[in-house]
């Protein structure tokens, strides 16, 4: 359940050098430096991966399932996002990529966006049935869902109550196999993920009891495996025909605009987490015009810019747009055959497509009790007044306000600010000040500094 705050992002202590890049990049101020290492405040993290993007030493990793875990199952289904196809150069055919995945051990490959056609109808119907809920915000991007839960709790009611296409694809494919008399325990459904947020969404789903996946595979890991098998066995390997094709609108679903262009009314597509925050702020303030639907994705260029995407996001988008164009050419040549699995299970998928209420879990509240929260706020204001206001992060917090809040919440001391320690705590010796800074930045941090 969501209260467990399972996170896909892990800080590797041996690698982390305790710089301040991640703590200042985090949109929810979920990171601090203590003892010379970055530390995560679990309830604040939304798994957006901005920290991983800016880490100069690659110390932030995503927790993923070991690839050999797929071998625990007799039937091994890869639910693969179309951005995975976009990782490869255009001269490598989709068939070849599929074949490479089968070569690597999967028994079935099914694209995640097969579920999006059903979703379009569900969203449009939801909008028509709920004229009082505006704007409806897409729940597609799990980092955005979590961001709204923690930073914009008043907007949780605007999130559309539907699972993502990947869940619908997994639900229908699992149904298909079990209908073939294959025991449930023999079916392993794995999502190939382009981002950390999807891992967290599978491991600790929001608004659903269980996830339809048995595990998650890092898209980077699979890309390397499939790319090498294609290179190695270029001549010898048997190319399996594509069994089912995505429709063009499904291929482009995870790109910016992929959802919004199919939804009726006034819609907007917003990508990039800072853009999303700016927009949500204004929405919460009531300073926006009227919108029917907002598509929001945490990554720049949406899933093409996922942190586990190894190819440049502009190139990934280009390949997917070209692939969608190719569909029409192939269709004209009579090369398209569309007996979509998911349409056979449409009613079953729709019956299982809804999410429960998504709960707000504000990280902004200073205390459950309003009177205590007011007292804390007054203390924060007072402490903030002492601090230099330069947001240098030398205290291990992302800025002066964050430090003031940490002090009041008992997570830090005012003297963690090196300026306060030197200037205000005049009675303390410089060696005491040095000791404070070593508590934050580690014993070894300053050992190479020579006295003048």
């Amino acid at each position: 359940m969501s209260s467990a705050f399972h996170h896909a992002l892990k800080i590797e202590e041996e690698v982390c050098t305790g710089c301040t890049h991640c703590i200042q990049a985090c949109p929810t101020e979920a990171l601090r430096v203590k003892g010379g290492k970055a530390r995560l405040i679990a309830e604040r993290c939304v798994d957006c991966g901005e920290c991983m993007r800016v880490c100069p030493v690659n110390a932030i990793k995503v927790e993923e399932d070991d690839f050999t875990k797929i071998l625990d199952f007799e039937h091994r289904v890869a639910i693969v996002p179309s951005v995975f196809i976009g990782q490869f150069a255009r001269n490598i055919a989709t068939r070849k990529i599929y074949s490479g995945m089968l070569e690597e051990g999967f028994t079935h490959v099914y694209e995640a966006e097969h579920g999006s056609g059903i979703l379009i109808d569900l969203i449009n119907k939801y909008l028509a049935d709920h004229p009082g809920t505006r704007p409806v915000i897409s729940s597609f991007c799990p980092a955005i869902v979590r961001l709204i839960q923690v930073r914009f709790p008043s907007l949780v009611g605007n999130l559309m109550p539907f699972k993502a296409p990947l869940d619908l694809a997994a639900i229908s494919f699992r149904k298909k196999l079990t209908e073939q008399e294959i025991p449930e325990k023999n079916v392993g459904v794995f999502y190939i993920t382009p981002c950390a947020a999807k891992i967290a969404a599978v491991k600790s789903p929001v608004g659903e009891e269980t996830s339809p996946f048995n595990g998650v595979i890092n898209m980077n890991t699979l890309y390397s495996k499939v790319f090498s098998v294609i290179k190695r066995e270029e001549k010898s390997f048997c190319i399996v025909p594509e069994k089912e094709q995505l429709l063009p609108e499904e291929m482009e679903w995870t790109l910016t605009g992929g959802e919004a262009r199919h939804i009726h009314g006034r819609c907007l597509s917003i990508d990039g987490i800072s853009n999303a925050i700016e927009f949500l702020e204004r929405l919460e303030n009531g300073t926006l015009g009227n919108f029917d639907f907002l598509e929001m994705r945490a990554c720049d260029k949406s899933c093409a810019g996922g942190i586990l995407s190894s190819t440049n996001r502009f190139l990934v988008s280009e390949r997917l747009h070209k692939r969608a164009e190719q569909y029409y050419i192939d269709k004209g040549n009579g090369k398209i055959f569309n007996n979509k699995t998911i349409t056979l299970y449409k009613d079953y998928v729709i019956a299982n497509a809804s999410l429960h209420d998504i709960e707000p879990r504000s990280i902004m509240k200073l205390d459950e009790d309003m009177v205590l929260a007011m007292k804390k706020m007054q203390k924060i204001q007072k402490i903030k007044g002492y601090l230099p206001g330069i947001d240098c992060a030398a205290c291990g917090a992302p800025g002066c306000r964050a430090l003031a809040e940490d002090v009041v919440q008992g997570r830090a001391r005012t003297s963690d600010c090196v300026f306060v320690a030197i200037k205000v705590k005049g009675g303390e010796t410089m060696s005491q000040v040095a000791e404070y800074t070593e508590e934050i930045w580690g014993r070894n941090r300053f050992k190479n500094m020579l006295p003048e």
């Binding site: 303030n285 009531g286 929260a373 007011m374």
Partner: protein, 144 residues
Amino acid sequence: MKEMKFEYLIEGGDFIRAGHASSDIKKILNQLNLDPAIVRRIAVSMYEAEVNVVAHAFRGVMKVNINPERILVLVEDEGPGIPDIAQAMQEGYSTASDKVREMGFGAGMGLSNMKKNTDILDIHSAINRGTVVKMTTFTKSGAS
């Protein structure tokens, strides 16, 4: 310690800054763990009140007083005043200038939105002097 007070100056005609006070108060109320639905109502009603001063008055001051029972927002402006408050409360009624309407404001929803989003709305106005708007919202829904 039982009360917190905030004050914001509003300049007539400055649409760029309109929304500054409501955004600031919204952040504060979120930190005080007020029910998100109530925070949103207060933010909306404050924003409408701010825009009204910007669109119609020369200048104004917005005072916010927070205590654990209620949030009180007092907006006092120097301006033309409202001749007929009952008429101004009607949805769609607006005296906004064409210039203001061109900027996307002046739809005549301001006062009715404020009424919809506050528990007690009190308006007093003196022609050619100004208007005083008092909005009270209780921290617990249903309380009075």
